[in-house]
């Protein structure tokens, strides 16, 4: 496995959020999120549905515009440029350039159904990075091999099981050689017997040193693979800490109430 995150470890945090707020009309979904993800750290975010955890993840790569606060990835302010004490929105092209380094895996895979597994993986390297087709093919085949789908490169998404589709989606994100991977409930749409194969791939990725921010309901994964666990409720971070400690001995009432329902 050629290391994605094998380069020099950056000094600052990979993700830094300061007072991040997001509202949809009257509805305040995020009410001031502060957190930091260190390079090579795996942070799992849990919480009841509607707590804002997925929304926060989507703010990190600017799929959602934040209303207040600041978000940095690898020291770079996301979505805006600060000039002369004023914030300027970034152009589409600049936002795209920032997203290039941030991989994202969706709950519902969002593979491109008109392309084979290989074409899904090599689309962005060719179209965005300008990689030559043959080089991209080698890269794509290697990434699919890495997620255990070396023999399914020419399958269309509808010919693959849910678990296989999600692994293709992971390979597609990895093919851009991101410095950060965002996972938005990657196993929630899967049949129970297919969850394991996706978690295995994610575990391997964590071991290779990838910085990962994972919104999940898989407490086992959070406990074993996560370096930090964050519990969100009602748009705020209620509690954060080492997963084993938090799962065994939650400090906050709301954390206790939530964990008693899901464990």
């Amino acid at each position: 496995m050629t290391g994605d995150a094998g380069g020099p470890v950056p000094a600052g945090p990979m993700v830094k959020a300061e007072g991040v707020c997001k509202s949809f009309g009257q509805l305040d979904v995020l009410k001031g999120i502060d957190l930091e993800v260190a390079p090579r750290e795996v942070m799992c975010v849990i919480g009841p549905s509607g707590s804002g955890k997925s929304t926060f993840l989507r703010c990190v790569n600017h799929l959602e515009k934040i209303n207040a606060g600041r978000l940095w990835v690898d020291g770079e302010l996301i979505g805006y440029r600060e000039k002369g004490g004023k914030l300027h929105e970034l152009r589409d092209r600049e936002v795209s350039a920032q997203r290039r380094d941030i991989g994202m895996v969706f709950q519902r895979f969002n593979l491109f159904p008109h392309m084979t597994a290989l074409e899904n993986v090599i689309e962005a390297p060719i179209q965005v990075k300008g990689l030559r087709r043959d080089a991209a093919r080698d890269l794509g085949a290697a990434q699919l091999e890495r997620v255990g789908l070396g023999d399914r490169v020419h399958s269309y998404p509808n010919q693959l099981s849910g678990g296989q589709q999600q692994r293709v989606a992971i390979a597609r994100a990895l093919a851009m050689e991101p410095k950060l991977m965002l996972f938005d409930e990657p196993t929630s749409a899967l049949d129970p017997e297919l969850v394991g194969e996706v978690l295995d791939v994610m575990r391997g990725l964590a071991e290779s040193g990838m910085t990962m921010l994972v919104v999940t309901h898989e407490m086992g994964f959070a406990r074993e693979v996560g370096d930090t666990l964050v519990f969100m409720d009602d748009g705020v971070v209620v509690e954060a800490g080492a997963p084993r400690r938090m799962l065994a001995d939650p400090q906050h009432e709301r954390t206790k109430a939530f964990l008693s329902k899901v464990l």
Binding site: F112, A124, Q159
Partner: protein, 322 residues
């Protein structure tokens, strides 16, 4: 059906007796089929015995050089009007979905206007615009080449119309049909674009793809699956609507040529039947093209898994669950 295992077969004594039940009768269907058969026989009898049809005359006259040129004009007009209509329609659909109200409003107005005007009215109007252009000496590029290409050199049938007038007629007809078509295509393309899961755009954005690239590479190819069947209908409708070019007039098109023979010889019915047969044949030709386009853009949809692939997958699932 679950696959049989060896133990199942071994324990089974003898296969159960095959069911040989008497099927339910459907007398109503038989009566209906009989009635239809009688009607068909009457129809064929009429075609064969009625002397007005003049089959020999029809066959002799439906493939004259002028008619063949008419068929070519009709096909070329159909293809050009559809190509222009689709391209302009895509632009209008994207404009219509723009967040900018002026841009989307302009597209809305265009669609509102050109869908409201009957094609024959629009064609008549465009014909007079064409005359205006000639008066103002606003040349249209490549006129000589187009003239040659469409074969508009002096045929005796076009007596009294000189080359420039015919050219203006064809262009006016093309503009009218293309603008009208664009308005319909814009709505078809918009429906296609909106049928694509927003998650597709998000996934492409998350990979750093620009909006225009996402539209070209991800959204439009998937929208095509929804766009092509109604576009096939539009193409066939366009083929038929080329007969409205009489309003311009464009006299070189198929229907005019066939009717001209009918009027001149007083053999109205044979030439009308010839028209029907010609449009049937040309429509069928277009349907073949549509079939292949639909096949091309349905990649990754529907159940196209081969037997080998399915066996491979089943083996893998069974293998991994043990």
């Amino acid at each position: 059906m679950p696959p049989e295992t060896a133990s199942d077969t071994a324990t089974r004594q003898a296969p159960p007796e095959q069911i040989t039940a008497i099927p339910v009768r459907h007398p109503g269907r038989w009566i209906a089929a009989g009635l239809i058969a009688v009607l068909i026989a009457m129809f064929v009898h009429m075609l064969v015995t009625n002397p007005v049809f003049q089959w020999g005359f029809m066959v002799d006259n439906m493939f004259t050089p002028a008619v063949l040129r008419g068929a070519r004009t009709t096909l070329i007009m159909t293809v050009l009007a559809m190509v222009l209509g689709v391209l302009l329609g895509i632009v209008l659909a994207v404009m219509r979905l723009s967040p900018n109200p002026v841009v989307s409003g302009a597209a809305w107005t265009f669609i509102w206007f050109f869908r409201a005007i009957p094609r024959i009215v629009l064609l008549f109007f465009c014909a007079n615009l064409g005359a205006l252009y000639a008066t103002y000496d606003l040349g249209i590029p490549f006129d000589r080449q187009l003239m040659d290409f469409f074969g508009f050199s002096g045929d005796l049938r076009f007596l009294g119309l000189d080359g420039n007038q015919i050219f203006a007629g064809f262009t006016a007809g093309l503009i009218g049909l293309a603008l009208s078509e664009a308005a319909y295509m814009a709505e078809i393309v918009r429906a296609g674009i909106q049928s694509v899961d927003p998650g597709q755009t998000e996934a492409a954005s998350a990979l750093g793809m620009s909006r225009s690239r996402t539209m070209r590479r991800i959204v439009l190819p998937q929208a095509m699956r929804v766009i092509i069947p109604p576009t096939g209908n539009e193409t066939i409708a366009m083929l038929k609507d080329t007969s409205l070019l009489i309003a311009v007039p464009v006299t070189s098109e198929l229907n005019f040529q066939l009717r001209a023979i009918g009027s001149r010889t007083f053999q109205i019915i044979p030439m009308a039947v010839a028209s029907i047969l010609w449009y049937l044949a040309l429509s069928s030709l277009l349907m073949v093209g549509q079939h292949f386009l639909e096949k091309r853009f349905s990649r990754g949809f529907g159940t196209r898994e081969t037997r080998a692939q399915r066996a491979e997958r089943t083996a893998r699932i069974v293998g991994s669950s043990h």
